[in-house]
């Protein structure tokens, strides 16, 4: 070990293991995490013959598929051995462990982050019984397509149509224009053979707004795109070039009526539309993913700040006092200013993420019981928290990169790749400015309620307390 780093460790005033346990949620959780990491890393999936940064775009994708399949095989084996559920998927593929193995991102991420959770949240019991087992076993690979080439966060503006034909009891999916093409979903290009597609539902000549449909894209044997399916990859991006983001268009593609996800709304055989108790229920998957993103940001900042802090203890620079050796750069206050806020941000985000995760679980349970009172509050909070944490994370990672000077610019530092991951999060699952404006809509409404004397939900209760809230 580098002697400077060793000295730093010797002067630490607290028990490091105690803090690790606290961050993990207890000694048992630390042990569990370490065991999981050891099991996965002992497989050697992360070891590359040629560093992936020197591969072509196509080779990067092929490597990502190879690694993702190895990883899924491993997870399946672990599930059989340990009889665990979804947690292993999230623990291994999500967060820093997954990112370590799949440096350029995984083409299967959306399968477990969005495809399976959407089936769980929006498919009827019968549909879940049919699809979830197949998805878990990887008999099918799915993704989730909502954003269109011409339409982003404003989902009511989506153009893809799903028109019910009562004669054949089928929906006809169609992309009326180029701007209606689905654009961006991970795994969509060459990996997934099924996709949950958000489309405007038409039945008996009436539009009923956007609804989710499960659509087969490729033949299960040959993997060839099915007739009427226009699918491909969107091209190279700033980072995450292994995620296989794709485009998707439909030319009058017919799917069975049962392929509309019908937990909340239904179309009966004769085309009668049975309305959901709340149109807001379809926002469930988006909120889940935004909460997951907040957790991911903690991992990325922790990674960046660990790299930068250790480097700052080893690196020596300049000679402020004559006849004295070059100081460690961590002794400069400007360097401490760059690093310490990153360390505290990890703690701040982790506790905020836990808080909103608990709120998400409570609200989901309340939704199942038909209570939607706290849904707007959770939606508003998850929107702004996703926006602020991703923006702050990008700033933190960039600050860490700058704190390592020219060495931080090297891909070998892993800081540029980490930046690629966090800055992508500023855009996906709702562009940050759009999300902040969604929160603002809730805040304006809440402020008006506060001035009217209404009792406000806990996270906005301060608006009633604070005098300035009534200034105007």
């Amino acid at each position: 070990v580098n002697p400077d780093l060793q000295r730093e460790r010797e002067k630490c005033s607290f028990n490091i293991t105690e803090l690790t346990n606290l961050l993990d949620g207890g000694p048992q959780m630390t042990e569990e995490r370490r065991r999981r990491e050891a099991t996965v890393l002992n497989e050697g999936i992360h070891i590359e013959e040629v560093p992936s940064e020197y591969l072509s775009h196509k080779e990067k994708y092929e490597l990502a598929v190879k690694k993702a399949c190895h990883l899924f095989k491993l997870i399946r084996r672990l599930q059989e051995e340990e009889n665990t559920g979804m947690e292993n998927f999230r623990a291994i593929l999500g967060g820093s462990l997954g990112a370590a193995i799949l440096q350029d991102g995984s083409p299967l991420t959306l399968h477990y982050v969005m495809f399976i959770p959407t089936l769980m949240g929006q498919a009827s019991v019968e549909q879940q019984a049919y699809w979830i087992g197949r998805a878990f076993n990887l008999d099918i690979i799915g993704t989730y397509a909502q954003t269109e080439l011409g339409h982003g966060t404003f989902i009511r503006g989506l153009e893809t149509t799903a028109t019910y034909d009562p004669k054949t009891k089928e929906f006809v999916l169609h992309s009326p224009t180029l701007t209606a093409y689905k654009w961006w979903p991970g795994g969509l290009a060459h990996t997934a053979n099924y996709c949950i597609v958000m489309a405007q539902l038409y039945s008996n000549g009436q539009c009923h707004g956007i609804h989710p449909f499960i659509v087969q894209l490729r033949d299960e044997e040959t993997h060839m795109p099915l007739p009427g399916i226009k699918v491909g990859e969107i091209g190279a991006k700033l980072g995450m070039n292994g995620t296989n983001n794709g485009f998707l268009g439909f030319e009058h593609v017919r799917i069975p009526r049962e392929h509309m996800l019908m937990k909340n709304c239904q179309v009966l055989e004769d085309g009668t539309y049975v309305k959901s108790p709340s149109s807001k229920l379809t926002y469930g998957t988006m909120m889940f993913v935004r909460v997951v993103i907040v957790k991911d940001m903690c991992n990325y900042i922790a990674k960046a700040v660990t790299i930068a802090t250790r480097y700052s203890a080893v690196r020596r620079q300049s000679q402020p006092k004559p006849d004295e050796p070059e100081p460690q750069i961590i002794d400069y206050l400007t360097q401490q200013h760059k690093l310490m806020v990153g360390i505290s941000t990890v703690h701040a985000f982790q506790l905020s993420a836990e808080w909103i995760w608990n709120l998400y679980n409570n609200v989901t349970a309340e939704l199942d019981a038909g209570d939607m009172e706290r849904l707007p509050e959770l939606h508003a909070l998850s929107c702004c928290l996703k926006a602020v944490t991703t923006a702050d994370a990008a700033e933190c990672v960039e600050r860490c990169r700058l704190s390592c000077g020219g060495h931080g610019y090297m891909l070998a530092s892993n800081l540029p790749v980490t930046y690629g991951h966090v800055t992508a999060a500023c855009t996906y699952e709702g562009e940050n400015t759009v999300l902040l404006l969604q929160t603002a809509r809730y805040l304006v409404k809440t402020w008006q309620q506060a001035t009217g004397g209404t009792v406000l939900p806990p996270t906005v209760a301060y608006l009633s307390r604070v005098g300035a809230g009534r200034r105007s």
Partner: protein, 192 residues
């Protein structure tokens, strides 16, 4: 209310900022509507302020949950760890107060002297946390395979690892690259 230069006081200050910004947004939307604008246009004209109000609201949430949850956590930790965790909360809250000093000046009764005190407090916190910096990141317990970084490995062999990585460049596989014979040499000879 008078400014209170404590962590709780700063968080209350952020609440005042967020509420003040939301109030101003509502007032501006209403003013624009009164001048004949549609609600949608008034909203659009106010949207820069609206995003800032949202961000301020989010800061209140993060600061509050961080402070309150840490206060709860440290009840069961050792005194040594407690001290460091509270220093981190202080650092985070004071850092954001200094980052948003303009907002605090605009919406609260904070004075220049209070700001000077905050700046001094921040600098002292950096110095206090300095000896524990490496311990704090070690506690994230990220294995080298996960960090995947020549600069951040646990053993600190930064320069050796950088050189090892440099040698993996495909350009280092041969002493002379073919482009020399193909392009550079004819060009150089032509010039000569």
């Amino acid at each position: 209310p008078p400014w209170d230069n404590t962590i709780e006081g700063i968080i209350r200050g952020f609440e005042v900022v967020a509420a003040g910004k939301i109030a101003l947004c509502v007032a501006n939307i209403e003013r624009r509507q009164k001048s004949g604008m549609s609600y949608e246009d008034a909203w659009n004209m106010t949207s820069v302020q609206l995003t800032q109000a949202s961000e301020a609201h989010c800061r209140v949430f993060i600061l509050t949950s961080y402070f309150e949850e840490t206060e709860r956590q440290v009840k069961t930790t050792s005194p040594e760890l407690r001290e460091v965790l509270l220093q981190l909360v202080d650092l985070y809250v004071v850092y954001w107060a200094l980052q948003r000093v303009g907002d605090l000046l605009r919406f609260t009764s904070i004075s220049e002297r209070d700001i000077a005190t905050l700046q001094n407090w921040y600098e002292e916190l950096l110095t206090k946390l300095r000896p524990n910096a490496v311990g704090l990141v070690d506690a994230f317990d990220l294995r080298d395979e996960i960090l995947h970084s020549a600069l951040g490995a646990y053993d600190g062999r930064v320069y050796e690892r950088l050189m090892e990585e440099a040698l993996k460049s495909p350009l280092n596989a041969e002493p002379v690259n073919q482009s020399f014979h193909k392009y550079l040499k004819p060009f150089m000879q032509g010039k000569l």
